[in-house]
């Protein structure tokens, strides 16, 4: 019974973490789909959003969950500017191969991390909200429950937020004209131009939207994690693993990939040891590359397109 309890608790924690991972992966996947380059500054953009949330909390007492509505628009603008003034000019230079353009995003990430170190030092920071210790127990709701499970309020709120954002994104991409333009551009950019889509504007918008989504993820993470300038690299890697696991450019793939990664990391922590989560992450990455080169998306696609 205890073993089952530990397993279920680990599973629940993994899914909660996976929900946030999915959001991070979605942001990267959106940019990947439209731009055809991997944004290796993704985690650093999240770090910037987390500093915004941190200072809003520390200086003005703004709750991190409210900060989503400030940090996301701010990062949207930052993303648009990066796309317009840094990435577009490099893409125009035909002698730079696309696989090298990705290096530019590494550079952007390094600059953001260095700036954060200069301005905010390497200190560990956190946002101690006063409801941080609230935890719900299964036995509070079901007295005779044979097993005990717990969920902290913070994780639950962050998870619900990430689901709401995912749903909003899905609605936006499937129901609005701008959303359809984004999907059309990522499926065939030349055909998109022929249909009157201003592809450059769609690219800038998508980079902004991807940045806004990872910014939201950052605000959802900050009550749960410590913040420091170098934190971005780890999350860039996580986003990268999710994108590979999910299949480049696939939204559903990113969601499932995020959940799988979350559960897998949680399992490695429980059954192998706390420090082993990054190793598990790496193992999943290699496994995805070797056994499922097209990612989860290739499985779904072969079913949907009947090929």
């Amino acid at each position: 019974m205890v073993q089952l309890e530990v397993f279920l608790q680990t599973l629940v924690s993994g899914l909660l973490l996976g929900g946030l991972y999915a959001l991070i992966g979605l942001g990267m996947t959106l940019i990947m789909g439209v731009m055809k380059i991997i944004n290796l500054a993704h985690g650093e953009l999240m770090m910037v959003a987390m500093y915004i949330a941190y200072w809003l909390f520390t200086l003005l007492g703004v709750d991190p969950y409210v900060a989503v509505f400030i940090a996301s628009p701010a990062l949207f603008i930052l993303g648009v500017l990066i796309q317009k003034y840094l990435i577009t000019p490099v893409i125009k230079v035909e002698s730079i191969l696309p696989e090298n353009q990705v290096i530019l995003t590494v550079g952007i990430g390094m600059v953001l991390a260095s700036l954060a170190t200069v301005f905010f030092k390497s200190d560990y920071r956190s946002t101690p909200v006063d409801y941080a210790s609230v935890t719900w127990y299964l036995s509070d709701f079901w007295q005779n429950s044979p097993i005990e499970l717990s969920i902290s309020l913070l994780w639950a709120v962050s998870f619900v937020f990430s689901i709401l954002i995912t749903l909003a994104l899905w609605f936006f991409l499937s129901r609005t004209d701008i959303g359809k333009q984004i999907r059309a551009t990522s499926q065939d950019s030349d055909a998109a131009i022929l249909m009157g889509i201003n592809v450059n504007r769609v690219r800038a918008f998508s980079f902004g939207l991807g940045s806004a989504i990872v910014a939201a993820a950052g605000c959802l993470f900050i009550p749960l994690y410590y913040l420091y300038p170098a934190l971005g690299g780890q999350f860039t890697l996580i986003a990268f693993v999710i994108t590979i696991l999910g299949g480049l450019g696939s939204n559903i793939g990113a969601i499932i990939g995020g959940l799988i990664l979350g559960v897998f990391e949680s399992m490695t922590s429980t059954y192998i040891g706390m420090g082993w989560a990054p190793v598990g992450r790496f193992a999943i990455f290699i496994a995805a590359l070797v056994f499922l080169p097209g990612g989860i998306a290739s499985l779904l696609k072969s079913r949907r397109l009947g090929k």
Binding site: D177, K180, Q181, R183, A184, Q187, D188, D190, A191, A192, I193, L194, M195, G196, I197, N198, V199, R304, L305, G306
Partner: protein, 234 residues
């Protein structure tokens, strides 16, 4: 309506179009024929602004368009239905039609136009929620033409609409072209199916190795020795 004036087009250092000039008048069906690699698609891509001519001008409805943004041409009434359909495979039939009508008047009349397209291609109506990538070749071509028509074009450029279709579907495609032309559409068509194309076209141009080598009434070209030997296999 459309005037192409002395264009030279390059891919990198390689010149593929040499001093090509031709025109399309309102209400005409004009065909551009030529062997594989002659440069037919390149000419259409140049008109659409996907590639830029190094020399020469392209005038549409009195306006020089080769300096305009390529995405704005559709609003002027110029639409290009590209070679190999180029649908958005993971979007539904209906979403593909929506993408055809993103701007101006076409967007306002989206609903009405969609019904017209479904009337023209009843098979698309049955499959409106199906992903474009799962349609048969014939259905995909219908959708590609339908998506083009959604933009309410004045001039429609079709690049090999009969490519890879069974004879009965080829017939269907040509029937549709005749129908839209009878409703006042101007058409510039690129085809390998020379016989049937010359049968519906008013005029035609023959392109060889990036140069225009012949032009004239479609009926006359269909009887020309050289055309018959090179393209009609008789």
């Amino acid at each position: 309506m459309l005037e192409v004036k002395n264009i030279d087009v390059f891919y990198g250092d390689l010149q593929v179009i040499f001093d090509v000039s031709f025109g399309v008048n309102k209400g005409e069906v004009v065909a551009l024929i030529g062997a594989n690699g002659a440069g037919k698609s390149t000419i259409l891509r140049t008109i659409s602004g996907l590639v830029h001519p190094v020399r020469g001008d392209i005038v549409f409805d009195g306006q020089t368009i080769n300096k305009l943004h390529n995405y704005s041409l559709i609003e002027l009434g110029l639409v290009h239905v590209p070679e190999a359909r180029r649908l958005f495979p993971e979007m539904t039939v209906e979403e593909n039609l929506d993408i055809g009508s993103l701007r101006g008047q076409a967007k306002k009349q989206r609903k009405v136009n969609k019904d017209k397209i479904f009337e023209l291609f009843p098979r698309l109506l049955e499959r409106r929620r199906q992903l474009a990538g799962t349609l048969s070749g014939g259905e995909q071509q219908m959708l590609a033409i339908g998506r083009g028509l959604m933009s309410l074009p004045k001039l429609m450029m079709l690049d090999e609409p009969s490519l890879g279709l069974a004879p009965i579907l080829v017939k269907e495609v040509f029937r549709v072209i005749e129908q839209v032309r009878s409703e006042g559409m101007t058409v510039l068509i690129v085809e390998q199916n020379v016989k049937q194309t010359l049968a519906i076209a008013d005029r035609a141009y023959v392109l060889e190795n990036g140069k225009l080598v012949m032009s004239g009434k479609a009926a006359d070209l269909a009887n020309d020795e050289h055309v018959r030997a090179a393209y009609l296999g008789v």
